[in-house]
Amino acid sequence: MLISLMVNGKVRRVEAAPEARLSAVLRAGLGLTGLKEGCCEGECGACTVLLDGQAVNSCLVAACQVEGRRIETVEGLDPSGLPQAFVDAGAIQCGFCTPGMVMAAEALLRSDPDPAPDTIRHALAGNICRCTGFVAIVQAVALEAGRRRGRAA
C-alpha cells in the first residue's frame, strides 16, 4: 500500500506492506537510518521515534497505522540540542542506543522542562544501553534541560 505521512516536517510517500514495521519503513523505505532495530520486541528502545509527539517503539507500529500521521526521528532534531548534550556529557560509546535515547529524552523534556534525575531514569526505562552506562546519559538529559531553561529565562 502507498502510505503518506509527515516525517520531520515534510510530507513523504512510501510503498510498504501494511504489516511492515514502521522502523523498517523509515530505515529502508525513507533512508532514515538514525533509528536502530535492536530487539523488535519493545524492550531495547533503539527504534524510538515520536508519533504525533509521543515516544513509541517504531518496531511495534505497523505501517498501515501511520497514514497521515506525524513522525519525528533523530534526523529531525536540532544537532546542537540533545545530541550535543550527549557528546558533552560523554554519554555515547558505541552509539547504537543513542538515537532512541535522545528521542525518548526529547519527549520527556517537552512535557517536563526540569526533570529530577529519578524522573529522567523512569522516562528512559524503555531504552537500554549496553556500554556507556546510564549515569552519563541521565547527566546529559539534565544538562540539556538546564541549557533549555537558560535560553528560556
Binding site: M1, G42, V56, N57, L60, V61, C64, Q65, G126
Partner: protein
C-alpha cells in the same frame, strides 16, 4: 504484493457490519501482535482499532466506570477521575511496560492477549469488570471478565467497572526483576472499604500466580472486618503465604514466591491505608 487488506471502519456500527461479513484480524497498539512470533494474520482483512475514535475513551464520573477498549495504558495512568475512583487501575497502568509501550498498548489488548503476568487484569477482575464484545456475526453481548474465555474472532469494545462493585480504597503492587519495564513475577490488586483504621469488605486478586488471575479468599478473610495493627498484618502475611502454597504446589517458584508475596502484600495495605511503606507498623511486621 501483500495478502492483507486493511479495513478502517469509521465507527462501531461499521465495525459490527464488517464482523458480520467474515473473520477479521485486529491490531490496536501493536505491542503484542507486532512482536515476532505472535504475529498478525498472513492474509485476510485487518482492522486497525487504534483509529476508531469510539473505542478510545474513559468515562469515570458516571454510575459505572466505562473505558473504551482501544484506550491506551498511558491514558489510564493519566486520567485524574479514574485515579480518584480506582487508584489501583491507574497504578497498574503506570507500572506497565515503558513510556513507549504505555503510549501504544491498550486495555482491550491487555485483556485479549491474556498474559498470566498482565498488570491491568488483576485490578479489573477485583473490580468485577464486565466486557462488551462484538461476536463474529455482529451480535453485541456483555460478559463478566472473570473466568471468560474470549470466543474466537470476538472483539472487545468496552470495559465496564460496575459502580456497585467498587470499594472505597484500592491499591496495586507488583514484583518484578527490576523497577521499570519488567514482567510481573507476582502482582496484587486490593479493593477494600477502609475507614477509621478498620477494613470492611475486601477483594484481593493476584496475577502471575497461575495461568489466570486468582482471587485469594483466605487472605481476604484475614483482613475483612479487622483493625489495622501488627497482629492483623501477621495474619495477613500468613494467609498470603498459604494462598501461594495452594496456588502453585510443587512449582519451582513456590519456595521464593511464598515468602516474596509479603512485599506486595504489605505495599497494597500501605496503599489503601494511605501510609508509607517505611511506617513503623510495617517495619515491625516485616522484621
Amino acid at each position: 504484493m501483500t495478502a492483507l487488506a486493511i479495513a478502517t471502519p469509521p465507527d462501531l456500527a461499521a465495525l459490527a457490519t464488517l464482523l458480520a461479513q467474515g473473520p477479521l484480524g485486529f491490531i490496536a497498539g501493536g505491542t503484542d501482535v507486532m512482536v515476532a512470533g505472535r504475529g498478525l494474520p498472513a492474509a485476510g482483512r485487518l482492522v486497525d482499532l487504534s483509529r476508531v475514535p469510539e473505542l478510545a475513551f474513559i468515562a469515570a464520573t458516571g454510575a459505572d466506570i466505562r473505558i473504551g477498549a482501544a484506550t491506551t495504558v498511558a491514558a489510564l495512568a493519566a486520567d485524574p477521575a479514574l485515579r480518584a475512583r480506582l487508584p489501583a487501575l491507574a497504578q497498574a497502568a503506570a507500572q506497565c511496560g515503558s513510556v513507549q509501550i504505555r503510549n501504544r498498548a491498550t486495555i482491550g489488548g491487555n485483556i485479549a492477549n491474556a498474559a498470566p503476568a498482565a498488570d491491568l487484569i488483576p485490578v479489573l477482575v477485583a473490580a468485577a469488570a464486565r466486557l462488551w464484545l462484538i461476536l463474529p456475526g455482529g451480535a453485541r453481548v456483555e460478559r463478566a471478565l472473570d473466568g471468560l474465555t474470549l470466543p474466537p474472532g470476538a472483539l472487545i469494545t468496552e470495559v465496564i467497572l460496575p459502580g456497585t462493585k467498587l470499594l472505597g480504597r484500592s491499591a496495586f503492587a507488583k514484583l518484578g526483576v527490576r523497577r521499570d519495564l519488567t514482567i510481573a513475577r507476582l502482582n496484587l490488586a486490593l479493593l477494600t472499604d477502609y475507614q477509621g483504621g478498620r477494613f470492611g469488605a475486601v477483594r484481593l486478586v493476584a496475577g502471575a500466580l497461575g495461568p489466570r488471575p486468582r482471587r485469594l479468599p483466605r487472605a481476604e478473610a484475614a483482613l475483612a472486618g479487622q483493625v489495622l495493627n501488627p497482629a492483623t498484618l501477621r495474619g495477613w502475611l500468613a494467609a498470603l503465604t498459604a494462598e501461594v502454597e495452594a496456588a502453585i504446589p510443587g512449582r519451582a517458584a513456590l519456595p521464593w514466591k511464598r515468602r516474596a508475596i509479603a512485599g506486595p502484600g504489605l505495599e497494597v495495605v500501605a496503599g489503601v491505608a494511605g501510609l508509607a511503606l517505611d511506617a513503623p507498623l510495617f517495619e515491625e511486621v516485616a522484621a
